[in-house]
């Protein structure tokens, strides 16, 4: 079972790194920000898998914090003016 968790964690991390292309190329600011928010969810999943695979239950609390605080960055992003170049 641990093997499965580890394998899934590697797969998710690989997903995240490939997804960085969207952040890099954009083109709009919203593309970049949405990708970053999605990576937040991916990180929560990776941390939950690691908590099982490494038998370190405190990592669930880390995942909890990321879930709780994901909205802060999203709200800060909506405060940016509507028409900006996203550079």
């Amino acid at each position: 079972m641990t093997l499965l968790y580890t394998g899934l964690a590697v797969f998710l991390l690989l997903n995240l790194l490939v997804g960085l292309m969207r952040v890099y190329f954009g083109p709009t600011a919203a593309d970049r920000m949405l990708a970053a928010l999605l990576f937040g969810t991916t990180t929560v999943a990776v941390l939950l898998l690691l908590a099982e695979a490494m038998a370190l239950s405190a990592l669930r609390d880390v995942a909890l914090l990321f879930t709780l605080l994901a909205a802060v960055v999203a709200l800060a992003f909506t405060r940016l003016p509507r028409r900006f170049k996203g550079r």
Binding site: T2, L3, T6, G7, A9, V10, L13, L14, L16, L17, L20, V23, Y24, G26, A29, R32, M33, A35, A36, F39, G40, T43, V46, L47, L50, M54, L56, S57, A58, L59, D61, V62, L64, L65, F66, L68, L69, A70, A71, V72, V73, L75, A76, F77, T78, R79, L80, P81, R82, R83, F84, K85, G86, R87
Partner: protein, 357 residues
């Protein structure tokens, strides 16, 4: 003859099972190598792009993602206390701080705002360093790092490390989490120093603060802008949860990863959320209550530490039997004394007031 064959078969099966287990272990080790390698490469690549990237907004987003991966790295190093701190600071404070700073840089119309970086006048010499000088500096720095690494790798590991000593004495500290034991008992003088640093940072920020109109993220509502519909319900859901998680982390610090710093950062993140959405507004000067919270942690910690000189025989020593209660009391006050300066640093103001609607 038959018995010999059966024996062979049994031992063969046993060997087969043993090889199967070994392969499983090998696959697991390989997967962990892949995970750690990808993580390290991702962190290095992200760090390079954050610093060297030409587009400011992209660098901000990449830095937010860097914080995510950094928390996973701390998790892989089996340091959940640091992963918690990284999560609370990275997701709750740094991202919002950078985006607000970016907002001030570009101004409200999407063009360069009043706080845009100053561009040098046309005739001025370029502010870049020649390539050979940069390469020379990079080579020197690389040599230095390689030299330090070479010396560090060659060192004999010490027989008795401070960490092992702390683990041996854990039973006497009054708490079960070794990190809390070190922070609040064995090395509490360092923790007092860190809280003082946070307070001094707040004072320094007050010295260079701008007028209140430009402080921090500014107000949410302008005459032409209405608040998005979902903000109210979102805050109504998150605010109580954040208070709950603050209390949980504070309580958890005694026996598992957590503690005053992580709890304070979550509380500060809640203040950031309220400040971003205009539910908290900046105020020029802190009230008496805010002033007492700002210095409360240092004052209480120092007072208990000094009282230890009379009651327990040494400064910063807790009276026997009182360790856990005093540590919990100090951590509770520290949580507030850490959260408030963080929130005020984000707000860029001396105090906060509730918005009357």
């Amino acid at each position: 003859m038959i018995r010999a064959l059966a024996d062979d078969a049994v031992s063969g099966a046993a060997t087969g099972a043993a090889t199967g287990a070994a392969t499983d272990l090998e696959i697991a080790a390989l997967l962990w190598w892949a995970f750690d390698g990808l993580l390290a490469l991702g962190l290095l690549g992200l760090a390079y792009q954050v610093v060297a990237g030409r587009q400011l907004f992209r660098s901000v987003v990449l830095f937010i993602i860097y914080g995510l991966l950094m928390a996973v790295a701390w998790a892989r190093l089996a340091a959940p206390d640091l992963a918690l701190a990284e999560a609370a600071i990275g997701a709750g404070l740094t991202g919002a701080l950078l985006l607000s700073a970016y907002r001030n840089l570009i101004g409200t119309d999407g063009e360069e705002g009043p706080h845009a970086p100053i561009t040098p006048p046309a005739g001025a010499p370029p502010m870049t360093v020649p390539r050979w000088a940069a390469l020379f500096a990079a080579a020197l720095a690389g040599l230095l790092v390689a030299g330090i690494g070479w010396v560090a790798v060659g060192l004999q590991p010490p027989e008795q490390t401070a960490g092992r000593l702390a683990l041996e004495q854990l039973a006497e500290s009054g708490v079960e989490n070794p990190v809390t034991a070190v922070l609040l008992n064995f090395r509490s003088i360092d923790t007092i120093g860190e809280v003082v640093v946070l307070f001094v940072a707040f004072l320094a920020a007050r010295v260079v603060a701008q007028e209140l109109d430009h402080a921090g993220p500014g107000d949410w509502l302008r005459a032409s802008q209405r608040e998005p519909l979902l903000v109210g319900p979102l805050i109504a859901f998150i605010a109580p949860m954040a208070v709950l998680v603050t209390g949980y982390l504070l309580w958890a610090g005694g026996h598992q990863p957590g503690g005053a710093f992580q709890a304070g950062a979550v509380l500060a993140a809640l203040a950031v959320l309220l400040r971003l959405t205009g539910r908290l507004r900046p105020r020029l000067e802190p009230t008496l209550l805010e002033r007492s919270v700002l210095v409360g942690g240092v004052v209480l910690f120092s007072a208990i530490g000094l009282a230890g000189a009379g009651l327990a025989g040494a400064v910063l020593e807790y009276p026997p039997g009182w360790d856990y209660r005093l540590i919990l009391l100090i951590e509770t006050v520290l949580t507030l004394s850490i959260a408030l300066p963080l929130a005020l640093l984000f707000s860029g103001s001396g105090g906060l007031r509730q918005e009357v609607r």
